[in-house]
């Protein structure tokens, strides 16, 4: 289970939800980070996909992710799109999860690259997002 942090404001740019991705967002709202894993080659994908991008097998299963990883790269965005102006500057980063997945997300602190990080859930009033923070 990921730590859940309550945020008072709605998401600046809410993600859309499809019949397929609904599972991801519902789980996330409850503190579970999940993605799809190929039933043939067993590799994970992120974002979750209905097919395996690695071997094009059409059967995938939902699988939990630890949320533990390492900060690969990071920046702070000062010049922001309209919807994000109120929160600028804000940090984003690229995280390599232990399961061998690379993803991008919000970054809650200014951390040196290669630091171990852990994903957390940001619970906005209109739905969840995810972010990375330092471990411990």
């Amino acid at each position: 289970m990921l730590e859940i942090i309550d945020i008072a404001t709605p998401r600046a740019y809410p993600p859309r939800v499809s019949a397929f991705t609904r599972r991801f967002w519902s789980s996330l709202a409850e503190g579970r980070l999940e993605t799809t894993r190929c039933t043939a080659c067993q590799r994970f994908s992120f974002p979750p996909k209905q097919l395996c991008p690695h071997c094009w097998h059409r059967e995938v299963a939902w699988a939990p992710l630890s949320g533990n990883g390492r900060l690969y790269a990071a920046t702070a965005i000062h010049a922001a799109p309209l919807a994000f102006r109120a929160v600028a500057p804000y940090r984003v980063g690229i995280v390599d999860l232990d399961e061998g997945i690379r993803l991008a997300c919000a970054l809650l602190e200014n951390l040196p690259l290669d630091s171990p990080v852990r994903l957390v859930v940001l619970r906005h009033p209109d739905g969840p997002l995810f972010a990375a923070r330092s471990v411990g």
């Binding site: 740019y13 939800v17 965005i77 000062h78 984003v92 980063g93 690229i94």
Partner: protein, 397 residues
């Protein structure tokens, strides 16, 4: 029959703020400007209007009200075509792909002369507003865009990683901006021409850490027309021209970041496309007299230079700081002033690169001329250099 594509004529609008706000009483119309440039470029080439058989357009920004711009222009110029008339789109590679489409019509024998052209007007829309659209290109709209990642934020993360891995520094990267401004000072169509110092660059407000205002591209408008022809036609004109020696393309199958961890700052697509192009031409990076690269930010010029073998891996920023990539240096890069100073009207930017190559290789670059420039390399990219299109170009005089 094997055909060879050549650039025989070119015209470019000085990069700058041309577009008027939507409520201005008088508008600057994209098609009026572009039509004039077509005539300029065709006169520069010395061909007849009736020789032209195809027109490949970089797409206009959505701010351009005139839709179906390509066929509209075919009408505006009353130019019947037996080759293709179309608009193409592919992020920063857009104009490179349009150039390819025009070249393909020549290679396939569907036109003997073809225009590659386009206009990018966007400056009347504020950056914050523009980014509401451009951020939807920065990755998955539902899994990456909600974090507010802007297009250049990926490059900023490249910069952070580069400094971290190669013990480089913001100052080393920033030296690229100083060099490019010095080049732009010699380029009459550059958007910013007043020389700057390293201190000036470092004193600018942060845009995306560790990149400040002078290390990222300004916003601006531009338009370019290139005239391409089969080499038989080029030869017959009795003027200097540019031979497209080879091209290489590679898409790595990822958009912005790969979901499978890789070495993000090794631009595998530029490396592969570059190798393909060099091999097809039977040359190597050391044979290049100059390079005009697609590099929105300082860091991108460094990474692309390394991937194309122009500078050693991890040493690109240092080499730039040491003057190796300046005019007069070992391998002058972005003699036009690059995207930071010549400007970056994104959908036509690779046209401006090809324009600069054509100026250099025809010996018309004036104060920024690379002496005896015979071979040059140029690149265009998709995403975070997830794909690269590379051309090796040669002077024929």
């Amino acid at each position: 029959m094997t055909r060879t594509v050549c650039i025989i004529g070119a015209a470019a609008l000085p990069v700058g703020k041309w577009q008027k706000p939507a409520d201005a009483p008088e508008q600057v119309l994209e098609h009026e400007l572009l039509a004039g440039l077509v005539l300029d470029a065709v006169a520069d080439a010395g061909v007849e209007r009736g020789d032209i058989g195809a027109m490949a357009f970089s797409q206009c920004r959505p701010y351009t009200l005139q839709k179906y711009f390509a066929t509209f222009m075919a009408h505006y110029l009353r130019l019947p075509c037996t080759g293709t008339v179309a608009e193409v789109l592919g992020n920063g590679m857009t104009a490179g792909l349009a150039f390819e489409q025009a070249a393909n019509d020549i290679l396939l024998g569907r036109a003997r002369v073809a225009l590659a052209l386009g206009v990018n007007f966007e400056s009347a829309t504020s950056a914050a507003e523009h980014m509401m659209s451009s951020m939807r290109a920065t990755g998955d709209v539902d899994f990456q865009v909600p974090f507010g990642i802007t297009p250049i934020a990926w490059y900023a993360m490249d910069a952070a990683r580069y400094i971290h891995e190669h013990a480089s520094s913001r100052a080393e990267l920033a030296s690229v901006a100083v060099k490019n401004r010095a080049h732009a000072a010699l380029n009459p169509i550059a958007q910013f021409r007043k020389p700057i110092t390293l201190e000036d660059v470092l004193a600018q407000p942060m845009i995306v850490e560790p990149l400040g205002l002078f290390e990222v591209p300004p916003r601006g408008d531009g338009a370019v027309v290139l005239v391409l022809a089969e080499e038989d036609v080029a030869r017959g004109l009795g003027r200097p021209y540019v031979r497209v020696r080879s091209r290489g393309f590679f898409h790595e199958g990822a958009h912005q970041i790969s979901e499978v961890p890789n070495d993000m700052i090794r631009l595998i697509s530029a490396e592969t496309a570059g190798r393909t192009a060099y091999e097809a031409a039977g040359v190597g990076p050391a044979d290049m007299d100059f390079a005009e690269l697609y590099a929105p930010c300082t860091i991108v010029e460094v990474l692309a230079s390394e991937a194309l073998g122009l500078l050693p891996r991890g040493q690109g920023a240092r080499a730039a700081a040491a003057g190796e990539t300046s005019l007069g240096g070992r391998i002058p890069i972005c003699t036009s002033g690059g995207l930071q100073s010549r400007g970056h009207p994104a959908y036509v930017t690779p046209f401006y690169s090809l324009f600069e190559c054509a100026e250099q290789l025809r010996g018309r670059a004036g104060a920024r001329q690379v002496p005896n420039a015979r071979l040059g390399v140029t690149s265009a990219e998709l995403g975070n250099y997830n794909a690269a299109l590379v051309h090796v170009l040669e002077a024929v005089r």
